[in-house]
Subunit: 543 residues, 2 copies
């Protein structure tokens, strides 16, 4: 027996319809790529998104067709998303920070038919256009007056292209499991893998994100997604803000401390979200200028672990609540947010700041467990760490074209590739990447914990820990350090510094001082290369 | 092309799984029907619900089977809900305040196989048991020690019945559109009609309800649903509280001011919800005893229009925020909640209290429009009123067995039977029931507005307005009043009091003073009977 409730498919455009009708005059403020600040509203954005949908349809873009965007957060980028969504086509955000040949590979893998590009990124496209056989037209997100000379024969200014439609159009209807958006994960090995969000997953995820203990966004909020729309589905904010009727402030391409501060203050932002680096830049800017945060209430920080010092500075100096978050492109991306529960909120702010270094607990809609290598569940004691696996309606069950199948098991658990602890209250803390953890005598040692400890030594600038094969223990940790300028730390001094601060069997078997450690394009330590460099290394006394 | 996201069916038991894992120790406090206060947790409630599911399965209850409950809000009632949900059976809440023959009719229409009943309502069941051929067993929600002597041969104490299962059981899996719960609407005409909630509608509705501008419930809240579980799906609180990890306080069968106050204060309730009558009783109790509300922050008031005086008293005397709400059994039930938007929140509390007499605006997931009798949409100007129609994933698209089909159109709009205005900010205000509105010369006159005005006259105790056929205007309003004790208001005095306060053409054509006005079992004015009484009435000067 089925319920007698309506078949009301969960389509992303219904979110924009709701915002336009119930919160039609709410402002959307953008820093344009041309320079000036641009103002619009949900009602006007919807009208232009309908024109975009009509124009896409007229081009022949059909259900399931992918179109790429290489763009900052602006109203035009948002219009393109909703225009594509309105005809069942797929917004495919491409990260412009990737190397040009990676960008080309991704666009070709997705077989994108159109490419929407900001003025900023036009030079990249000019470089790779010849290698993009599926791209039929390049739409530059500007108007005729700002359209630059370009070598691209098939380029058109967005405003000219859009003007060819009159907006007399209605959203198309289709199944809620239809593809909505696409984002490639940049793995450290192999080709990037495409994650394909559905309308359903985006809508469910937006509801999850809106709830009080997750992002807690309401109509009185003004939301600034500093996190780019090309980063992990914009952390849901392109959907959660209109779903709740919150105003939007879109920072365009200027993410330095001064520019972010200007937008926060000028437009009364109450809620923002981005990676720790952005907030470090903002806090440095505020310190240098004596600036303040007069409207901001909450900031969600994720993408990588948020240092306690940032959380503390926001809270104590500026009265802003930090919500430490963790997620993945494969999870739409929200996994956990660290907000207090009655049992976990100490009266003492210091104790709560200590707890906030954890990534937090999941909302309803995200299932989470830690397992050992044989997939046996591990206890939630806050100490035992294991492979972090997740499940839920906004979690991927495969990648585009079926690549990366080894990450998914028969019961739909997705192996995040992270290693984590979960405490009795459900708070998860990432301790390592699974491929970086050191497996010593059947037990695991966190490379990140050792690195964090080693960089506390006054003469150490950077540290990386890798596992080296060991005849008895299987693997043992090797600590590789880069000294601070004009310092020469000794092995003994470093080990002496670490001793007593970690379990005895976690102590590195050796320390090697090197002039530099290899990094990825996004600044992370490239452990695959490091392991390659130390392929023939053996610990003293082992063969 | 479909998304690559997981098929994770939206099942109600996943909400309880989440609460047990992430908020397992959160308290659930109940006033038992036996008297004492009972304490449990989400983790323990889940364990017992699993036993209930296993016991139901052992009885032979199968997917889609209905089981009735005649019970107050207690932990046992909640266990039974989740037990039934866990095997795909249907919790069918029956309102014990109905007449016994109505109760029997509803149970027979639903063909309930089991009947779970509180001690309080056992006498009703004893009276009607012989007329319930589908009911195989009656489970009395108590333990052996409190099991009374009963004429029912097939009755068993719940705790004995439950003890026959050991809890070694797993929730069954099925389609998310499977029937989950059932509630009959008590229309003023014809037989009651069954609304069948699905797992999907309950889950989506719980997310909607949790968002900040709707109920805004988080893990730090302690939620007391004073609204009974048998009233309109418990306003979602049996799902929203565990979804968010909020604690629960269940008031059992004592809903008087003193009992409600005791629970609010003793268990740190922060959020509660019920009809205006309950809050009137509480406020009177507080006034009489000088009591206070030390933990309560928000109270949702719906079921009928909330008078400004209640909202004002809560805010000014006790510092409690009232959220005026409107919904229907057919809507799971949430339709609108009156919370401020940046454009609508005046700095002045008085102006905001004035605005709060409106029922508010809908969340994402509830579409709403007003139309004239020809289904033409009417403007959202806050003045024009029309038939209120709604649509959404938690709105019914039919009734059980296909009755009442005239309320649903081809585009899934459900005609609520209410007449309302919608203002430019999306705030809806109920002005009348569609069948009570007076249609005069093609325009509508709100009977409720006239009644509210008339009872302001110092000599009028109660007022009802009905439409009387008129040769020129089709219908004109007749005002029927009951005088206050020992008063004799004249027609002239009443009309003189009303004059200038409403449009001239809204003025009643006549006033009739009567000793009493007929009421329904739930205390509402029975306008059908009143219209019957005045069937032969003609206005002075008309034939």
């Amino acid at each position: 027996m089925l319920g007698t409730m309506q078949h009301w498919p969960l389509l992303c455009t219904k979110i924009l319809d709701h915002a336009a009708l119930q919160h039609g005059g709410r402002p959307i403020v953008s820093r344009s790529c041309e320079g000036p600040i641009h103002h619009t509203t949900y009602a006007d954005l919807r009208a232009r998104a309908l024109r975009a949908a009509q124009r896409l349809d007229r081009h022949g873009i059909r259900l399931g067709d992918r179109c790429a965007t290489l763009a900052w957060n602006t109203w035009r980028h948002l219009e393109v998303w909703y225009g594509l969504l309105g005809i069942g086509a797929v917004y495919h955000t491409v990260n412009p920070r990737l190397f040009p040949d990676q960008i080309a590979w991704i666009i070709n893998d997705a077989a994108d038919r159109l490419l929407f590009v900001d003025l900023t990124f036009l030079p990249i496209v000019e470089k790779i256009a010849a290698a993009l056989p599926t791209v039929e037209r390049i739409v530059v997100l500007t108007d005729a007056a700002h359209m630059p000379a370009t070598s691209l024969a098939n380029a058109v200014a967005y405003e000219d292209w859009l003007a060819e439609a009159d907006g007399d159009f209605a959203w198309r209807a289709f199944d809620e499991n239809t593809a909505a958006g696409m984002c490639y994960t940049s793995g450290t090995t192999g080709h990037p893998k495409g994650v394909v969000y559905s309308h359903r997953s985006n809508v469910l995820h937006a509801w999850m994100a809106a709830t009080p203990d997750m992002m807690g966004i309401g109509a009185a909020d003004v939301v600034m997604p500093v996190v780019p729309m090309f980063h992990a589905n914009c952390w849901s904010l392109a959907f959660t803000a209109p779903l709740t009727g919150a105003g939007l402030v879109l920072p365009g391409g200027r993410l330095d401390g001064a520019a972010v501060h200007e937008m926060l203050e000028a437009y009364g932002v109450t809620f923002t979200a981005a990676v720790p680096t952005v907030w470090l830049m903002l806090l440095q800017h505020l310190e240098a200028t004596g600036g303040n945060l007069t409207s901001l209430k909450r900031v969600v920080i994720g993408g990588s672990a948020c240092p306690r010092a940032i959380t503390e500075k926001f809270l104590k100096r500026y009265g802003v609540e930090v919500r430490h978050a963790w997620g993945m492109t494969e999870m739409s991306p929200l996994g956990t947010i660290c907000t207090p529960k009655p049992e976990t909120r100490p009266a003492d702010d210091e104790a709560w700041l200590d707890l906030q270094v954890k990534q937090g607990s999941p909302p309803f809609g995200v299932e989470m467990k830690i397992t050992d290598d044989e997939d046996r569940p591990l206890p939630h004691d806050g100490k035992t760490f294991g492979r972090l696996k997740v499940r839920g309606p906004a979690v991927a069950e495969s990648y585009f074209k079926g690549t990366g199948a080894e990450s998914f098991d028969a019961e739909h658990w997705f192996d995040t590739g992270d290693v984590a602890t979960i405490d009795p209250y459900g708070y998860m803390q990432i301790t390592d990447r699974a491929k970086d953890v050191i497996k010593s005598g059947g037990e695991w040692i966190s490379s990140i914990d050792l690195e964090n400890l080693a960089v506390g030594h006054p003469d150490v600038a950077e540290a990386a820990v890798i596992g080296i094969a060991h005849p008895k223990w299987d693997e043992r940790p090797l600590l590789v350090v880069v000294p601070r300028k004009d310092r020469e730390p000794s092995k003994e001094s470093i080990l002496g510094f670490m001793e007593g601060k970690i379990a005895r069997w976690w102590m590195p078997d050796d320390v090697v001082v090197v002039p530099e450690i290899p990094h990825t394009a996004t600044g992370k330590i490239q452990k695959t290369t490091l392991r390659e460099q130390f392929r023939d290394y053996r610990f003293p006394g082992t063969s």
